[in-house]
């Protein structure tokens, strides 16, 4: 079936595309989809039938690690061509969104003002905030301006580009409200911890609040908080949540140094955050999460999958984004066993739950029991496959 993505839900902060900008979104997504279906899965064929033989001839043995496979494949014309296309498609996607947001900015700024005037939720910015280097040195996933950029008190450029752009990046897999990941996470919490009745919930690294907002409906009695590093992101997240009529409290804050007391939350979650933090920061964040959880509280997370048991070529495909799509910490994250990681924060290693799911183009998740039964190399960048992991304090 041809890819036919619905436009993202037009909440009041959502940038609105013109006819041609929308047509551009569709064709970029269609080319990306073709690559995922037809080009990436066949890289392994090129490896097996061409590249590996070339390597064996030269070295008298097969490649022994994914680094060798990486160098080998990056010499293959087939891999060079799709890589060049993949990188340029990423840039085209963001640039088209930049065009949309640029003409939408005045409307969005006016909306943000109107929406936050009578806000039920809140946003707390930190004028002394120190931006962590792991998000300021490189614009993550090659999104111009990245997470840190905020050029004025009402700058909404990068979060607006993210809201509409990341939806098309995933080709709709996050759901029309960006709610898909959170819905699956909520299901996972309810399934694994049916007795948990959270009164206070925290979303760490919440970006524009895609995963934060659905928590409000899942646990209507709970007080919901979200934190992230970007000032413009928090401002946009706040206006967006108000536009959707959901009460959320956003804070500009670093996950390595949470400004909440010990034992403050019943549920602390994250969605797609760890792979964008550094080798040093991620263990600090999980320690902080452990600290702010009540005894009996739950940490539940989803992110790109652990790649330790993938074969060498699959590891190369999984980690392509680390080298070429400005995801510098991606490879580190795919290398860490999740139970080990949770235990560094203080959680009992034996109590760590691990669940895998694939998502479709409408944001629905299908959980499956054995992650390595169904390898998914076509989803370069792990776009379709998600790993859930969590533990109780």
């Amino acid at each position: 079936m041809a890819l036919n993505i619905k436009e993202p839900y037009p909440h009041r902060m959502m940038p609105r595309a013109t006819h041609d900008e929308h047509a551009r979104e569709n064709i970029i997504a269609a080319v990306k989809h073709f690559m995922s279906d037809n080009i990436y899965p066949n890289d392994e064929l090129v490896y097996e039938k061409q590249a590996k033989q070339r390597f064996v001839k030269e070295h008298g043995r097969e490649p022994k690690d994914c680094g060798e496979v990486h160098h080998l494949m990056m010499d293959e014309p087939y891999t060079q061509m799709w890589s060049s296309m993949a990188r340029t498609l990423q840039e085209m996607l963001w640039d088209n969104q930049g065009e949309i947001v640029q003409h939408e900015m005045p409307r969005m700024q006016a909306e943000a003002k109107a929406l936050t005037r009578k806000a039920k939720g809140s946003v707390t910015l930190d004028p002394d905030f120190e931006m962590p280097r792991y998000v300021s040195a490189v614009d993550i996933h090659a999104m111009p301006g990245g997470y840190p950029t905020s050029r004025s008190e009402d700058d909404l450029f990068t979060p607006a580009v993210y809201d509409r752009g990341a939806y098309y990046y995933t080709r709709g897999m996050v759901g029309r409200w960006g709610e898909g990941g959170a819905q699956a996470l909520i299901n996972a919490v309810k399934e694994f911890y049916p007795d948990l009745q959270p009164k206070r919930i925290l979303d760490v690294g919440c970006a524009i609040g895609w995963s934060t907002v659905p928590l409000v409906d899942a646990w209507p009695e709970a007080e919901v908080h979200g934190i992230d590093v970007g000032e413009a992101f928090m401002r946009y997240a706040h206006a967006r949540a108000e536009g959707l009529g959901k009460v959320v409290h956003f804070h500009q804050m670093n996950g390595e140094d949470l400004k909440f007391p010990d034992g403050h939350f019943d549920l602390v979650m994250s969605g797609g955050m760890y792979h964008e933090t550094s080798k040093k920061a991620a263990p600090r964040i999980i320690k902080e999460i452990y600290r702010v959880l009540k005894p009996g509280g739950v940490s539940m997370n989803y992110d790109i999958p652990y790649g330790g048991e993938y074969n060498l070529h699959e590891q190369f495909m999984l980690n392509w984004d680390c080298y070429f799509n400005a995801e510098p910490f991606w490879r580190q994250w795919t290398a860490w066993d999740r139970a080990d990681f949770m235990s560094w924060g203080g959680f009992d290693k034996d109590g760590v739950i691990d669940a895998w799911a694939d998502r479709d183009h409408e944001g629905n998740f299908k959980f499956f029991p054995k992650p390595f039964d169904e390898l998914h190399t076509s989803a370069r960048g792990g776009i379709g496959r998600v790993q859930f992991f969590g533990a109780k304090k």
Partner: protein, 120 residues
């Protein structure tokens, strides 16, 4: 939240950048960090980028023409504003998706052809 499926594109009228207001903030077009190149000659990567931009613009033109044709079924000539206000119904979206799939297949033929030879 899901009650609003019908409203998906109900705001196309407002979609046109009707406001004369402009922002003082510049559009950010370059991402911080090194840009990777994949071919021995980086100009080849630039050609790929230019080609993909053209692939995209041809599809945009095709979709615009399609909108004109759809509007021509009910009106004689469509203005820019009418094109902008056009709401593609679901069957039209589906037909366009099919067209895009075929179109991308034609663009990528040389690569899939190579794969077929490798599979043989």
């Amino acid at each position: 939240m899901a009650e609003d499926t019908e409203k998906q594109s109900a705001t196309r009228e407002e979609t046109a950048p009707a406001s004369p207001m402009e922002t003082d903030l510049e559009r950010i077009r370059t991402a911080k960090g090194q840009r990777p190149y994949f071919f021995p000659d980086p100009n080849l990567d630039k050609l790929v980028a230019m080609l993909m931009a053209l692939v995209s613009e041809v599809a945009v033109l095709r979709e615009r023409l399609d909108t004109h044709e759809r509007l021509a079924e009910v009106e004689t000539w469509a203005s820019g504003a009418q094109v902008e206000a056009f709401e593609a119904p679901d069957p039209v979206e589906a037909e366009r998706a099919e067209w895009r799939e075929d179109y991308v297949g034609r663009i990528m033929r040389i690569i899939t052809d190579e794969l077929e030879r490798l599979k043989a």
